[in-house]
Symmetry: D2
């Protein structure tokens, strides 16, 4: 950690900080310059975040050297982690396609949509029973009934299922019905929920929050691993920017960036990432080309009547076509759907 003192900071102020650094068990460094005094603190600087040296009125800025996350970091864990949801694998060269409708609406809708997903090559079925919605007047999901339907349809088609959990009190019941737990973008910094899914013993798909930097996402993942669960898949799903032509701005550069910094698998959700059906196929192919370990795609048997996210849901024939294009593209990269 590098500590830049304000111009005119007294020798006493400098000495006080050097002592605090030493008392925290780090090696202090003193670098007086022409315009600023700069201090260094060598060692495990995460200890220093407790000291909050930037709160000192004599300090101009604090510049960390090391990343603030550990367990998710590739530095301490150089090899790719492989995470399994049922018999589908993600990471370490394995590519997994997750697909299904935004929400469980009824058995017929779910079954038909799931069949479309499976026909296109999806290994895992997704559908929401608890739906976080911006408006209190929008469809909020079927809840427990939705979980039952999802489990039933997953079994019928032989597909493991992943579904969102939106508060810590629901983790146990969702974990009993689903093969994997999804934490949504709006809950990426719901730390109580992160700790709860960290203790649930099921794989977790963690979506990036709309205002989360790469580092924030990795720190959110660190909560889950620190709670004892390393079966975690990171999911890029777009951030909020000034662009209004799309629902979110899908940042595909997050894929190679996350994979460089972390050993965890990284998938992409091009449906929420764009909000527009027409963009889902090109962005799916782009994500695969960028090195993603999988995709999570919304498909609906009749998007025009979907209770949520219809505009971004693929029609079954579009899903089928996507599967074929993906398979060809992955093939040329030495991978397979």
């Amino acid at each position: 950690m590098i500590i830049v003192m304000k111009p005119g900071a007294s020798e006493h102020a400098v000495a006080t900080l050097l002592t605090r650094i030493e008392n925290a068990g780090l090696k202090p460094l003193h670098m007086p310059g022409a315009e600023r005094v700069v201090l260094g603190a060598l060692g495990d600087e995460r200890v220093l975040s407790e000291l909050a040296l930037d709160a000192d009125p004599n300090v101009e800025s604090v510049k960390p050297i090391l990343a603030p996350y550990k367990l998710v970091s590739r530095e301490l864990h150089p090899h790719d982690s492989i995470v399994a949801i049922g018999n589908a694998s993600f990471g370490g060269g394995r590519f997994g396609l997750i697909a299904g409708p935004c929400a469980v609406e009824n058995e017929a809708q779910l079954l038909a949509s799931a069949r479309a997903a499976k026909a296109a090559g999806a290994r895992v079925l997704r559908a929401g029973a608890y739906k976080p919605r911006t408006s209190p007047y929008a469809f909020q999901g079927l809840g427990l009934d939705g979980l039952d339907l999802l489990e039933q349809v997953g079994r019928e088609l032989g597909m493991p299922v992943v579904t969102e959990v939106i508060e810590s009190g629901d983790v146990d019941v969702v974990a009993r019905h689903a093969d994997a737990l999804q934490v949504g973008a709006r809950n990426m910094q719901n730390f109580a929920l992160l700790k709860a899914v960290g203790r649930a013993g099921k794989p977790v798909v963690l979506k990036r929050g709309m205002s989360a930097r790469i580092e924030d996402l990795l720190l959110a993942a660190e909560y889950v691993l620190a709670a004892g669960n390393d079966q975690l898949i990171l999911c890029e799903r777009g951030i909020r920017t000034f662009e209004t032509a799309t629902r979110n701005t899908l940042e595909l550069a997050a894929v190679p960036l996350l994979k460089a910094r972390s050993h965890l698998p990284v998938i992409v959700d091009p449906s929420h990432g764009t909000g527009l059906r027409e963009l889902v196929t090109p962005m799916s192919l782009a994500a695969a080309a960028a090195g993603a370990d999988g995709l999570m795609v919304e498909v609906h048997v009749d998007p025009a009547t979907a209770l949520s996210d219809g505009p971004q849901s693929l029609y079954p024939d579009q899903m089928l076509s996507l599967g074929k294009q993906l398979d060809a593209l992955l093939g040329v990269m030495g991978r397979a759907l």
Copy 2:
């Protein structure tokens, strides 16, 4: 609601949509133009959000006419609401100052910081017992012990207290100790929590999320009012932008905007809104000049050793000076601290 059809949409597609609009109980309108067919739907268009007409592949875009929120809207409730926390009032011309340390650390720290707040004119004491922190390795708050200390210090100084609640399971216990419940920026779209505080029977301070548009904040507030609680104060605390010189970008235009659209009181948190102690006083004065109904300011007896948010906490003498400047500025606007 205005529905713009894609170029080349068939007459059949148009007729189908007109029928769906009529079946939903609205008055359909057909406006064929030279380049596009445009449809209208007159009536309570919130019904139409269930129809999700933008999911229809023949529809280019859907443009709502009415705001998607009702209970928080000034249209149905033209007069300012006044919300009381203990004996402090917010809204309808009343200005309230909330101040205190970021977190409860121990009794001495809390008591000294609260005294500094009170001396400066603060009517309500703030301090966190449950701290949502980006890193799992950062101080997470004292929890129940913190609530006890907060209640005790508030009583000792005769100040009502507000504190953050971070999950729905904690709402009851926090409501027993505090005079008002704060929902933080990271939980603004934790809908389970919004519903729970809506049923808690205590005033709520709802902070704007880092990626929340004005409309998102009002819809989050609508959740609380729809659950039966209209004692709600909106709080602008900055959004996340590309600017890195400050922790967040405080959008003071949100104050008159929110007050134009809603009857609810609006306060400003310049501490989180800037992240820098030096900016807290000018932004506090600016917020008051912009018409805010109050402020929430962090003050700490010794910011340099604070366990959280030290860099943005005022020193006691700075807090005192802020109180005096605020009082003078409010006076010229016909208001008082």
Copy 3:
């Protein structure tokens, strides 16, 4: 165009607006609703932008139906345009690779870097003689000498050249030396420059501004076409967002979006779009998979000593590898490098 009146707008105010719409040669529509009066204006609504109806204090909002651009729109020009720079073609299924160093530094550097570009399959050489730099103390380019060197090296290798022009007074001289003119991100709304390159008779590469929405980029392109030049290539190169891990946020969804709305070719600059050498190859492949008509990539014979943009410049061997991977990926999509 749809005009939403404020609640309580008088009949007189409505009648005045209807008359203004009719006087502008459009067909007025009157749609009184329960909560709002809504007006329509059918016809070429671009006429109405002159009327600026949203400035009327009785108007709540104005919602356009038609896009504000014409010449660049795919509606009036349904087939892909193909733009040639020398013997390289962009659009209509043709993919072109543009590569070279950020800046012309000297003959040896330029020649070696250009050879690396050519060896990897680049058809067009890029390098800057006029460099817009954030700091006045940074290298500002070789100017005329740079143009001479660029032209000479391009001829020697048989590669057409593209280079940036940064003000309208330089357009003629740059057009004499280069085969295509580049308008950079910082100048995307330098309208004097757009008009000048519109009259220059050379193909133009127009880069998206850091704060430009898709519509802003298309309107900037409209300036060039309106000035008489339809040989224009759009270039996505990243926007500015809150993410700090990359230099810009490359929005690859812009590729299919721009191609849906416009007939113009769309290329991607992954070098500026990420700022990080390690991300250039995955983002190049992703851009091709998303349907881009080409790429503009920075390569330098010795990036560690480059006078500008070294951190995002590929080494020659990385460039060669990128060419091979691109060729394979394009092949599976029925295209070729």
Copy 4:
């Protein structure tokens, strides 16, 4: 400057960098840590930006210690600069109100609007003759005729005038007609223009670009001062964010931030900063409370028929009321309109 090496960087790579630092005339520092080697370079680190050490593949990141601007910095120039436009002063405790219509439309419109500005206390008249417009089909300004009218009306009312110049070739003619030159947000990084106004011998109002960080604005100002002109006023006018309820997001925290880092006067443009007439008065008062050295406000004799920016232009009576409120608020802060 602090240079963080990648994990595993060789001793040879470290030694090479230390030599480059020393050869550049700085004092090198070597700080080997447990997880990273960190290097320091003490002295005028601006020299090092030429070395571009972050382009070295062994370097993980480079962290500057000193600000990259000099002439605009408060460190070397601790006292407030005062800039005069005619007989109006900005900075050092003096507050100046600049007002007028967005564009010169005709003599009657300009004269009536200017009278409204003057009646409200404005000391300087603003109006545009060259208008940068997003669409090529929008009103582009009267050009030379507009300059003539502006000069004539300014003389008639005894008000100095400021107007925008949009390319370097126009600087001379605009400088002959106007008392001060405005560089607009879209041209904040038009470096040729910055250099030209730096040589023009007239005061400059430099507006912040829509995607400019505080540091970018100060570096743009540095271009002007480096070209020999220190009569420069910085103008905060809003940045582009995800918020769509306003035209831009006015960042009032920029006022105290800029004044802490620079000796230059800082004014605020609440008209472009919000885009909504209703927000102009509260944001003007907020800007004054935040410590701004002046305002630039749009007023029009008949906003409903304005050729540009009508929605954000004040009516004359609103302008008058703003003047009175500003005067009262400034009075309580020991200043005057």
